[in-house]
Amino acid sequence: MAQRAVWLISHEPGTPRCGTVKFSRRYPTVEKRASVHNGANYVPVPEDGPFLKALLSELRLLGDDKDFVESRDSCSRINKTSIYGLPVGSEELWPVVAFLKNDMIYACVPLVEQTLNPRPPLISISGISQGLELLFGIQDFLYSGQKSDTELNTKLSQLPELLLQACPFGTLLDANLQNSLDNVGFASVTQPQKQPAWRAGTYKGKPQVSISITEKVKSMQYGKQDIADTWQVVGAVTCKCDLEGFMPNVTVSLHLPTNGSPLQDILVHPCVTSLDSAILTSSSVDGMDDSAFSGPYKFPFIPPLESFNLCYYTSQVPVPPILGFYQIKEEDIQLKITVNLKLHESIKNTFEFCEAHIPFYNRGPITHLEYKVSFGQLEVFREKGLLVWIIGQKFPKSMDISLSGTVTFGAKSHEKQPFDPICIGGTAYLKLHFRILDYTLTGCYADQHSVQVFASGKPKISTHRKLISSDYYIWNSKAPAPVTYGSLLLLP
């Protein structure tokens, strides 16, 4: 259960090597173990240069995809995981865990503590899960709160020291590298016994607990008879507990309104010390009896110092907050568009903002537009081929608004206009962006009086709620649209 080597590689398309090794770390003791365990099938970890080339080629990032290359493009070379085998000389280095995110390639080679021939099943190699955790941890560290390249470089320069803390011998001790960073700072503090590994130091200051519930609603609406619309809500409870003491205990309870749909698929943060198994039984997948448990959902935990996601949940809400209809008719060079949006009466009609983005892909710039809106105002981004309907803070009393218009496009030039592999021909969507504060679709709330804190001092407790849209699509009803999982699992 260890890593032989770790790399961070920036993907730089267009440069001669298409990438640079930004960071690498090898573990010679693990390498030694690998040579013992893998015996005749042992392949040493190559130097950075050859590794970079082999990995970029395997990940199709060398920018040379003009020609069909059988070893890479063959239909039977199906890899459903992020685990690769890289050619190194005449042999193959396996397993290599690698993925690309934000133009950065995260890669590591886990130790396999058994013979490699025959190749053991991936699930039996514990180093793979650990390798992924390590890489995700590095990714979280690099991109949490990072805004500029300078910050990224600063964080990259901290990595050697952090890995010396978090992964000194290739065995990961804590995927949260920020903790390790804090640990360095707290090293001079004499610690008492029994301090959680994730709580590196102590807080000094005014005690306060902040709990915020953020629900994201997704939807795919088609306006078609044969395809069912879908919507789902995913909630996240974020906490920040500034409490003194080494092991403060906090219990947060989530409540639902009467007749509210129960929370499902609950996942908690590892700092939660115990969990009622009843909380875990309700799942969106196995269709258990929903009425079995409807809260309150109690989560006792020892909070880490930083802000963290106490739990996630989903829920089956009866209606989508906004029901939409979108239709495009193509007439010569013009598109006639019609949009209707209706806010459901049960939804709080006070938005922080509400906008409908109407992009037109794979066409030229907008040269002419005639439109009529019953409410709000329309902004046109001609070059981008985008209409933004700003609905504002409130729907009108009727809850029903509409937009109709005619759009004309100029000649298409490949460089400038947005390209999309899905929106071909009549296939088009409208995407809703909105946010409602102090509101959740499920009705879920954390009562600040029910928050129990066992720590010195009486903390100030604050709670927040918001509903935001995420991937809220309304598809042109007159053309094919990508079906989500739609009707697949529905029985009459």
């Binding site: 030694k32 590994a197 089956q316 899905i422 071909i424």
Partner: protein, 846 residues
């Protein structure tokens, strides 16, 4: 010379990291390890530089000190540096401990004979257990981090030398119970326990004593050096692998613990588990994994021990746990979901109207909207599951509108094809589409309901984007006949229906070379003939020839020989011409399996290459020319009265297929010059053969007989010889007309010829009987080309040239009811009887 400065070291380290092998092989490489160790004690370098030197030694210990003595010396030197550090806080203590451990373990110096190991181990254990190390090892503020580091070092040494800490189980357990950093001690104890249990059968009993001892177990040495090495069975912590089938391999089942040992072990495990919530998530995963492995198969260790921790972890968002018990909530091998999503299946769909989707069939992860699928891996994984669902679903009725997974699968594939068809799209999209098609063909091979639309869609994709030809060829190479055969036919049809001059001709030819086969040869040949005119460059010509070659391999067929011959003439490139000729020769001389063998060894004709003995007989037979019945009938066709010499037109009627036919003629009586052989590329009974023209060179203008032999190759590749019935060359076959006289001058021309025959020649008169048709018909049937002057229907002047240099002149004038008197003159008296016979022959025919 003083030590290199900070900058010099930075430069050196940079060069080393760029390519360690090259650096070590270079002039600076030799002393790097030694200088690094000595500079660690230098007062002139900052701590920060020293840390970077130690960092290098942590990564490249095996390269810096490649053998055991060097590693031992390095570890000793690092330990010396460590104890010489002044007692104030220093950033070097942790990395020095790590570096000494790394040097020993990576250099293979770890062992009872190692002085450095014997110094390092007690130091580490003392630090790990929080003991006072006498001289005040470092300031108090560093004790906690050093304690944790010492635990990590011990854990690594235990990993490299399993069983090493067996005798220290008791003190470690005691250390965990007291104040101590929970995570490092827990992990160290768990690993030591795991290894101790795994090696217990080798080590013998005594576990209880080990677990309860407050100080290291007595004996000559507190370190167990030899446990892992004294067995033939390699110590493989992860084996036996999933699923846990062969428990016996590690001898775990053989381990019988006494009740006291079991109780003590259970207490130790419970102690570790109870504190596990204080560990970081990944450390919890390691702990559980180690404990599960350690206790597997042991009696008296109920799985219920794990329950509270497992319940807690199963609801945890980042388990990172390789699954003791049920599978982790998110598949650990897939790329991460967006971080804002819980790593668990997301919420279910709802029907319009809001009734929850109650009863569901199997719990399948639902493919998200394609727009969200940027990575192909999850798409393929989901598609695979969908295929399995479809495969399971065949028995059930179609669920009607939109309900069936098959329809969904079709839509998904259509979407992927649509993306692949986008002009200028990245190749990865095309690859994804073909991978999906391959998966479907693989999983649903027996379902025409799925494969038929797939074939249709792929053919459409080819039509839209022939540039994907290599993907099609690859797909055809990989899939079974269930998809391969219909796809082959569909693509062949798609290609040959194109005009030959298509811009994508190169791709068409590439596909065609893979898809030609029986059944579509005439259309293929037609396409190739049209394409041949649009192959200006070498590449296209070669592609064209590859298709021809593929056609050869699939049995050739009518028309191919003609095409190859034409290509051998047309192609500009000499290489292309040579290939065309070669293929033609192969086609003409070999057939059936031999042709296949000649085109490249293949599984189709293995016997030809291998079984020499059995082959010999057939081989000898193949080399010999065998007598056979004639594969065709030859007959003499109508007279061809043109050109400078008489030409015999031969009609060929093929009875069997024959290739590379050579007809040899022998003239009876040496009346003519020897005749050249006539060659026919191939004869096919189903195909009308064009007539053969045999030029005759008479030495005397006389009829004769031609003896004919045929030499040819059968489709089985045998060379055969046949004698054909002789052909008769009649007197009239030698007739040639005189050059046309100027218009109006014909009568005078004839009279001149007539007069020129005498006195050297001969004159005669013959009565030629006429049939009911009369003179006009007789002339038009037999003498038309030779009539020089005529006054139909009563008078015809006929002049006939007879090679090599004779002439025969006829006057047919004043016909009567039953015949016509013919006056004839010739410059060669020997012709008179032949002419008379000819004219009498005409009478008889009439």
């Amino acid at each position: 010379m003083g030590p290199p400065s900070r900058e010099a070291w930075a430069q050196r380290l940079g060069a080393f990291r760029a390519s360690p092998c090259a650096f070590l092989a270079g002039p600076q490489g030799e002393d790097l390890g030694r200088e690094l160790l000595s500079d660690l004690r230098s007062d002139k370098l900052s701590e920060q530089t020293k840390v970077s030197l130690l960092a290098l030694s942590l990564e490249y210990a095996a390269q810096l000190w490649p053998d055991a003595p060097a590693a031992e010396a390095a570890a000793a030197s690092l330990l010396d540096t460590l104890v010489l550090l002044p007692p104030r806080p220093s950033a070097l203590r942790r990395p020095l401990l790590l570096a000494a451990t790394t040097a020993l373990a990576a250099g293979g110096a770890l062992g009872p004979a190692s002085g450095a190991a014997c110094r390092l181990l007690p130091l580490l254990l003392g630090l790990a257990l929080g003991r006072d190390l006498g001289r005040g090892f470092g300031p108090a503020s560093e004790q906690r981090p050093l304690q944790a580091t010492a635990c990590e070092c011990l854990r690594e040494l235990e990993s490299c030398q399993p069983g090493l800490l067996r005798a220290s189980l008791g003190p470690l357990r005691a250390g965990l119970a007291q104040e101590g950093p929970v995570q490092p001690l827990s992990l160290l104890l768990a690993l030591a326990l795991h290894n101790a249990l795994a090696l217990q059968p080798r080590a013998g009993a005594g576990l209880q004593g080990l677990l309860t001892a407050r100080v290291a177990a007595a004996g000559d040495s507190p370190w167990s050096w030899t446990l892992a090495g004294d067995s033939d069975v390699p110590f493989e912590p992860q084996a036996p692998s999933w699923p846990e089938a062969e428990e016996g391999a590690r001898g775990l089942l053989a381990l019988e613990l006494s009740p006291e040992e079991s109780r003590e072990l259970r207490a130790t495990v419970a102690q570790l588990l109870d504190a596990s919530y204080l560990l970081a998530p990944v450390a919890q995963a390691q702990l559980l994994w180690l404990l599960c492995r350690a206790l597997r198969g042991l009696r008296g260790q109920p799985p219920a021990l794990f329950k509270p921790q497992l319940v807690r972890l199963l609801g945890t968002a980042h388990p990172g746990c390789p699954a003791p018990g049920p599978a982790p909530p998110h598949p650990p091998l897939l790329p991460p979901l967006p971080p804002e999503l819980p790593r668990k299946l997301s919420a279910g769909p709802r029907r319009r109207g809001g009734r929850p989707a109650a009863a569901r069939a199997p719990a399948v992860p639902r493919p998200p909207a394609p727009a969200l699928c940027t990575s192909p891996q999850p798409s393929l994984a989901r598609l695979h599951l969908l295929c399995l669902l479809c495969a399971e679903d065949t028995e059930e009725d179609d669920r009607g509108q939109g309900g069936s997974p098959q329809r969904y699968l079709e839509e998904l594939l259509a979407g992927l094809r649509q993306r692949a068809a986008l002009d200028g799209g990245p190749r990865a999209w095309a690859t994804l589409c073909f991978q999906a098609s391959y998966l479907v063909a693989h999983c649903l091979a027996g379902q025409p309901a799925v494969l038929t639309p797939l074939v249709r869609g792929l053919a459409q994709l080819y039509r839209a984007r022939p540039v994907l030809a290599p993907h099609f060829v690859d797909l055809l190479d990989r899939v079974g006949p269930e998809l391969g055969e219909p796809l082959r036919v569909a693509l062949c049809r798609e290609v040959v229906s194109r005009p030959g001059g298509d811009a994508a001709l190169g791709w068409h030819l590439q596909v065609l070379a893979r898809v030609v086969g029986a059944g579509s040869q005439s259309a293929t040949l037609h396409f190739l003939q049209a394409a041949a005119a649009h192959c200006p460059d070498w590449g296209l010509q070669q592609a064209l020839l590859r298709v021809c070659r593929a056609l050869l391999g699939s049995g050739g067929g009518g028309g191919l020989a003609d095409l190859l011959q034409a290509l051998a003439r047309w192609l500009e490139d000499p290489d292309g011409r040579d290939h065309a000729r070669l293929y033609y020769v192969l086609l003409a001389h070999l057939a059936g399996p031999k042709l296949g063998l000649a085109l490249g060894p293949s599984l189709a004709a293995p016997a030809m290459a291998s079984s020499l003995v059995a082959e010999n007989q057939g081989f000898a037979a193949a080399l010999m020319v065998r007598e056979a019945a004639a594969p065709m009938r030859l007959s003499v066709g109508p007279r061809v009265a043109t050109g400078p010499c008489p030409v015999l037109q031969l009609q060929v009627e093929a009875l069997e297929p024959a290739y590379s036919l050579e007809l040899r003629f022998r003239v009876e009586g040496q009346l003519y010059a020897p005749l050249g052989a006539v060659h026919v590329p191939c004869l096919c009974p189903s195909r009308p053969a064009s007539p053969l023209l045999l030029p005759l060179q008479p030495r005397r203008p006389a009829p004769t007989r031609l003896h004919v032999q045929a030499l040819y190759t059968t489709p089985a590749g045998l060379t055969c010889h046949a004698r054909l019935p002789p052909l008769t060359v009649t007197f009239s076959h030698l007739f040639l007309p005189f050059p046309q006289a100027p218009r109006g001058a014909e009568p005078g021309f004839f009279e001149e010829l007539w007069d020129s025959c005498l006195p050297g020649g001969a004159e005669s008169r013959v009565w030629c009987a006429l049939g009911p048709q009369g003179l006009e018909t007789l002339v038009s049937c037999h003498l038309e080309p030779f009539v020089v002057a005529a006054r139909p229907p009563a008078s015809y002047h006929v002049a006939i040239r007879l090679p090599p240099d004779s002439k025969l002149l006829l006057r047919l004038e004043a016909p009567q009811v039953d015949g016509v008197p013919v006056a004839l003159r010739t410059d060669d008296w020997a012709l008179l009887p032949l002419a008379a016979d000819y004219l009498r022959g005409l009478s008889a025919a009439a």
